[in-house]
């Protein structure tokens, strides 16, 4: 076969000098599958690889950067290179990485070097990913290197956690035994990350730190277990994991008890009992091994030190979420009851029903801080609950009533009476967002089974309130008016004029100061609202407000961003389908709004009709298959179908005299008429196939692994074949060959398609096979 591509040797020359866009096109060329050729290994590939190694060894960051990218592209597209050269590449890469990390302080000075460091790390990651799973390669290239790579990454992760932690997480999960010697050192590093600067990292990094900490517990610590007499007990796989979950859980209780110094628990005896029942370590076993955290320093005289409690709970709940949600190779025993109890206890820490302690009530500054701290504690309860309900779904159904009732405590209410405090609600919009998404996941499992409507109507009101665009200027105007009167009496007119000059925008363009709502928020709110509309008959106040919100916001958003977001479309559809106690659905309004959206529901509602196939043949499934076949036939040969349609029409005319009514069924049968020769073996074959599918299913269970391997092996082949087709078609000199190749490929693929085929496919594939069989 003629190769039309650039030879690798010339690329090798180019790559050294290339820059910018030229380098990019070189990388693009490298992806070509023509280089996957063992015969090239000694000549061209050898030269190219040598060039790449040279680039990697160079002292200039830019050359290293180029080398990294070239290696990544070449290895991921070229299995031959990967198998032969990965070992060498990895060695060079990690030595380079080592030199960079050793001089991290200097490296971090220049942006170029820092970028190169990041690229190096990523390339190492890519290479390791590529090697993993290939037994020989792993044994020879990866496992020996890991002993050097892991400590390197561990050092680097102190400086660049968001870069290294994902790689280390992968290593922990997939090369657990190799990681074992480094576990203790890594634990120390992670401990430092968790206890010291945890709050400084962004959300994803925090998550990564916790995930790594959790995965560290995959490594078994069986040293002390052997000494005891319990060897004959079969230890469960998750022993280590479970004990660490519990140790995290145990640390919540003292923190909640600490809040007893702020809130007066003694008012509510049930509350006291409940807190008492929270999970605590058993004293006799002495399970408290390593205290992760230092004692808290909280001082009531410095009100902001109270935030320490919130920070600590945040870390703990993040750790807990990692332990709960991460996938592991072995089944886990999760203490769901304990976790949910703790979430509830956190949610109970509210000033809604519990008074503050006596001595604290007078200081306004302190009480203000306390209220916000408590709210953030409650919020952590919601965060944990959210991840639980996402991971365990229906398993927590048993607890849902208590969860819902404790969630209601999160809604702030006014000091006297039962009314919702909307000012506070508006200040915690983000948290309400999480509450809504929690409710959405929860209620997805519950449906209309919930009889407690109170929480949901409250939340509906809150949601409708929060989706309005509001500015914080309401208070400003009132205070300014006061200030005006004061200032006029004191005759400091100059000052006032100065201020008015700066503030003029607020008066002239108040709309510019409106806080916009994120689209993401709308999505969650809409999901919640449509859930509420679906499951309950709302009082008309809420229903009307929801309808109004949906219509008005879809129009405004349509004007602002050019299209109506999907969640609004769904909400409108739900409102139409569930009109509640309204006299009329808003069908015309919704259709008018969504006329460009091609909404299936509205389409059917506006032009009511039965499903197509249902009309044609009520009931019988065997005919349905025929129809599908017939419907697909016209693509193949148009002449025949035209004739058949004509005959069909004639038949219709004839029959219409006799019967009066003609179903489309008859037409279809007539259509099939000329092709009866094909139809018969088809029906026979479909029956065989339907039998076979069952056989296949059984076999699939037994031999799923081997099949997978087979398909893996076959994939590259088939890819090559299709490419061959493409190429041969381009060259017009050898048409006979083309035909042959096409046929052979088809016959070659036949067994594949058979083995893969499921019940639904057969109509077309099988008919092809039939033709082939006949020919043969």
């Amino acid at each position: 076969m003629a190769t039309v591509t650039v030879p690798l040797s010339s690329l090798a020359k180019l790559i050294e000098e290339s820059e910018g866009s030229q380098f990019r096109s070189i990388l693009q060329t490298l992806r070509s599958p023509t280089y996957v050729n063992q015969s090239l290994l000694k000549s061209d590939i050898g030269v190219f690889v040598a060039k790449l190694l040279k680039l990697l060894r160079s002292s200039e960051p830019y050359q290293i950067w180029k080398g990294c990218h070239a290696v990544a592209v070449l290895c991921s597209n070229n299995p031959v290179v990967l198998c032969s050269q990965a070992n060498q590449f990895l060695t060079v890469l990690y030595t380079r990485l080592e030199s960079f990390i050793n001089f991290y302080v200097e490296t971090s000075q220049s942006a170029a070097r820092l970028t190169t460091l990041k690229t190096l790390t990523r390339t190492v990651d890519i290479l390791m990913d590529l090697i993993r799973g290939k037994p020989t390669l792993t044994r020879e290239a990866l496992t020996p290197k890991l002993n050097a790579v892991i400590p390197l990454l561990m050092t680097l992760c102190q400086y660049e956690p968001e870069l290294c932690l994902p790689i280390l997480k992968k290593l922990l999960l997939q090369n657990t035994t190799t990681f074992k010697p480094f576990a203790n050192k890594y634990r120390v590093i992670l401990n430092r990350l968790i206890t010291k600067d945890f709050q400084l990292y962004d959300r994803t990094t925090q998550r990564l730190i916790c995930d790594n900490f959790a995965y560290l517990h995959l490594i078994k610590q069986n040293a002390q277990k052997l000494e005891e007499n319990q060897e004959h007990h079969k230890t469960l796989m998750d022993e280590n994991w479970r004990s660490s979950i519990l140790s995290v859980l145990y640390q919540f209780k003292p923190l909640i008890l600490l809040c007893g110094d702020i809130l007066d628990f003694s008012v509510d005896s049930e509350m006291l009992n409940f807190i008492d029942s929270l999970p605590t370590p058993k004293k006799d076993t002495g399970e408290i091994k390593d205290e992760l955290f230092a004692p808290l320093s909280v001082d009531m005289n410095e009100s902001f030190s109270l935030w320490e409690i919130s920070y600590r709970v945040e870390v703990l709940s993040q750790l807990l979420i990692s332990f709960i949600s991460l996938p592991t190779s072995f089944p886990l025993r999760i203490p769901l009851h304990g976790i949910i109890d703790i979430c509830q206890a956190l949610l109970m820490l509210s000033t809604n029903y519990l008074p503050l302690k006596r001595g604290l009530r007078r200081e306004t500054e302190l009480t203000a801080v306390i209220i916000t701290v408590l709210r953030s504690l409650q919020y952590q309860g919601i965060v944990v609950l959210k991840s639980i309900s996402r991971c365990y779904g229906k398993d927590i159904l048993y607890y849902y009533s208590s969860i819902l009732s404790s969630l209601e405590l999160f809604i702030p209410i006014k000091a006297r009476g039962n009314a919702i405090d909307y000012e506070k609600v508006e200040s915690m919009k983000e948290q309400v967002f999480d509450l809504l998404s929690l409710i959405n996941t929860l209620a997805g499992h519950l449906g209309h089974k919930i009889d407690e409507l109170d929480l949901f109507t409250k939340l509906t009101d809150i949601t409708l309130r929060l989706v309005e665009e509001k500015s914080n200027l309401g208070k400003f105007y009132t205070t300014v008016n006061d200030a005006k009167s004061i200032k006029q009496t004191t005759k400091q007119k100059k000052d006032y004029n100065k201020m008015a000059g700066a503030m003029s925008d607020i008066y002239s363009h108040p709309k510019q100061f409106v806080n916009k709502t994120e689209l993401r928020w709308y999505d969650e709110a809409n999901k919640f609202l449509s859930l509420v509309v679906q499951n309950w008959k709302l009082p008309s106040t809420q229903q009307v407000n929801i309808i109004k919100y949906a219509t008005v916001m879809s129009i405004t958003l349509n004007e602002q961003i050019g299209n109506i977001p999907e969640s609004f479309e769904e909400l409108l559809t739900t409102i139409v389908l569930y009109p509640g106690s309204e006299r009329l659905s808003i069908l015309p309004i919704a259709v008018g709004l969504l006329k460009n959206m091609d909404n299936k529901v509205f389409d059917v509602l506006c032009n009511p009709r039965l499903p197509f196939s249902c009309l044609l043949n009520p009931g019988s499934s065997s005919i349905r298959k025929d129809i599908r076949n017939a419907l697909k036939m016209p693509n193949g040969d148009s002449d025949e179908t035209e004739e058949t349609i004509v005959t069909g029409q004639q038949d219709v005319l004839d029959q219409s005299d006799a019967n009066g009514i003609v179903t489309a069924n008859d037409i279809e049968r007539d259509r099939d008429g000329p092709e009866n020769s094909i139809e018969k073996p088809l029906s026979a074959l479909t029956s065989i196939v339907s039998d076979e599918s069952q056989i296949f299913r059984k076999r699939a269970v037994e031999e799923s692994e081997s099949e997978e391997e087979e398909t893996k092996r076959q994939r590259p082949d088939s890819a090559e074949e299709t490419e061959n087709n493409g190429e041969t078609v381009v060259i017009p000199n050898v048409p006979t060959q083309v035909l042959q190749t096409v046929e052979t490929t088809e016959t070659a693929q036949q067994p594949d398609s058979d083995s893969d085929s499921e019940i639904e496919i057969p109509t077309i594939n099988v008919s092809d096979n039939d033709d082939d069989d006949d020919e043969e």
Binding site: R416, G417, N418, A419, I420, Y422, E423, L453, D454, T457, K458, T460, D461, R465, E468, G474, P539, S540, T541, Q542, Q543, V544, I547, K548, T551, V552, P579, G580, S581, E582, R583, L584, S585, I586, L587, I589, L605
Partner: protein, 381 residues
């Protein structure tokens, strides 16, 4: 010097010359133009092309339409006799004009007559509305906004006779568009009745001891006149009773035409369950189906009217003040019943025993009133 000459010019006598026209004084008014058309703003212009629809109907209908438009202005005539005569005339014409485009003009100018100073006009208006309702209730339904506005106006009117007559109008309106009326202005109308009857509303404070009572009577004289005039009192009481029955017990309670019922009382229709399912998706049989959404009306921002940030969920509407209640929409029976039970029920119950004791027509109505209240209570329980 210059000033002096200027002043003197005014007093100089101009000489008249032969062959030249007489010089006009400086302040002359030009009266040379001829009058072609005189516009008198108190009468409407008659234009022929105002109704393009008449092409198929022939000229008779066209003339009728113009006739109506011409006569509508007479409803605002200063003489009460003319006004009454006009109303009478329209009443006789209703069967012919009910579907003319000019009906809109007629309704717009006749509804304000609810607050007319003359008793005769008001009586005739009630008859007119009744006739309209008999012919086509949808005409009344279409105007429900205006009707409620003027009903409220009448109920809160400072002139006692007008206020007293409001019950009569309510009864007429309830006959034909009870459902619309209770949906549209449940709370407002209830408050209005209290004002007409001169009753007090007991507000429920957080602690019962503090519960205030608000007297809804405008003046003490109006309360007095109402108490004196037993007949009117009875009328108003009846109206209130009908209104409450319509609102809380549903449309069937009054025994009128069966519209799409919320209470599931479509026993005489073919299959009520099925109907309930598909009726919301059919073309509505009543006008202005989406008016209640108030998509095109300007509203005050929430919390702007009341400093407390009023809107609370209806579940704890027990804590809402009467002003806050206005934010609720009473489209469904459930909300209406709840609002009624929590805010108006106790106040009404306080008044009834005395009325029953007094006896007479009033006493009888009050008796049926109290039995209705019990019925309502049973539904709630």
């Amino acid at each position: 010097m210059a000033k002096k000459t200027v002043r003197q010019q005014d007093f100089m006598k101009r000489k008249l010359k032969v062959g030249k026209p007489k010089q006009k004084p400086s302040n002359v008014t030009d009266t040379s133009f001829q009058m072609k058309r005189i516009s008198l703003p108190s009468q409407t212009k008659i234009s022929s092309g105002s109704n393009g629809k008449s092409a198929g109907n022939g000229t008779g209908v066209l003339d009728l339409n113009q006739e109506v438009i011409k006569r509508v202005s007479l409803l605002r005539h200063h003489s009460d006799v003319t006004r009454k005569e006009t109303v009478l005339y329209f009443e006789s014409m209703i069967s012919r004009i009910i579907h003319l485009p000019s009906m809109n003009n007629l309704m717009q100018s006749s509804i304000p007559l609810m607050c007319d100073s003359s008793k005769q006009v008001r009586d005739e208006l009630a008859n007119l509305l009744d006739t309209i309702g008999k012919h086509d209730a949808n005409v009344l339904k279409l105007q429900i906004r205006a009707i409620t506005l003027y009903l409220n106006n009448a109920m809160t009117h400072i002139i006692a006779p007008i206020q007293r007559d409001s019950g009569m109008f309510v009864q007429v309106v309830l006959k034909y568009c009870a459902d619309e009326l209770v949906r549209h202005a449940w709370i407002k109308m209830l408050k209005g009745f209290f004002q007409v009857l001169g009753w007090t509303i007991v507000t429920q404070g957080n602690n019962k001891a503090k519960g205030k009572s608000i007297s809804m009577g405008i003046t003490s004289s109006s309360v007095l006149s109402m108490n004196k005039n037993k007949k009117h009192k009875n009328e108003n009481l009846k109206a209130m009773l009908q209104f409450i029955r319509a609102g809380v017990l549903g449309a069937a309670a009054i025994g009128h035409e069966d519209r799409n019922p919320e209470q599931g009382n479509g026993a005489n229709s073919v299959s009520p369950l099925l109907q309930q399912r598909y009726v919301p998706y059919m073309i509505p049989e009543f006008p202005q189906p989406y008016a209640y959404l108030k998509l095109f009306t300007r509203q005050f921002a929430k919390g702007e009217l009341t400093s407390t940030g009023a809107e609370t969920s209806s579940t704890d509407s027990g804590n809402m003040t009467l002003e806050e209640l206005e934010t609720l929409s009473c489209e469904d029976t459930h909300t209406r019943r709840m609002v009624f039970n929590q805010h108006f029920y106790p106040s009404i119950q306080r008044q009834l025993p005395a009325l029953i004791k007094d006896g007479g027509e009033c006493g009888r109505t009050a008796h049926s009133f109290s039995s209705t209240l019990e019925e309502i209570l049973q539904i709630t329980v």
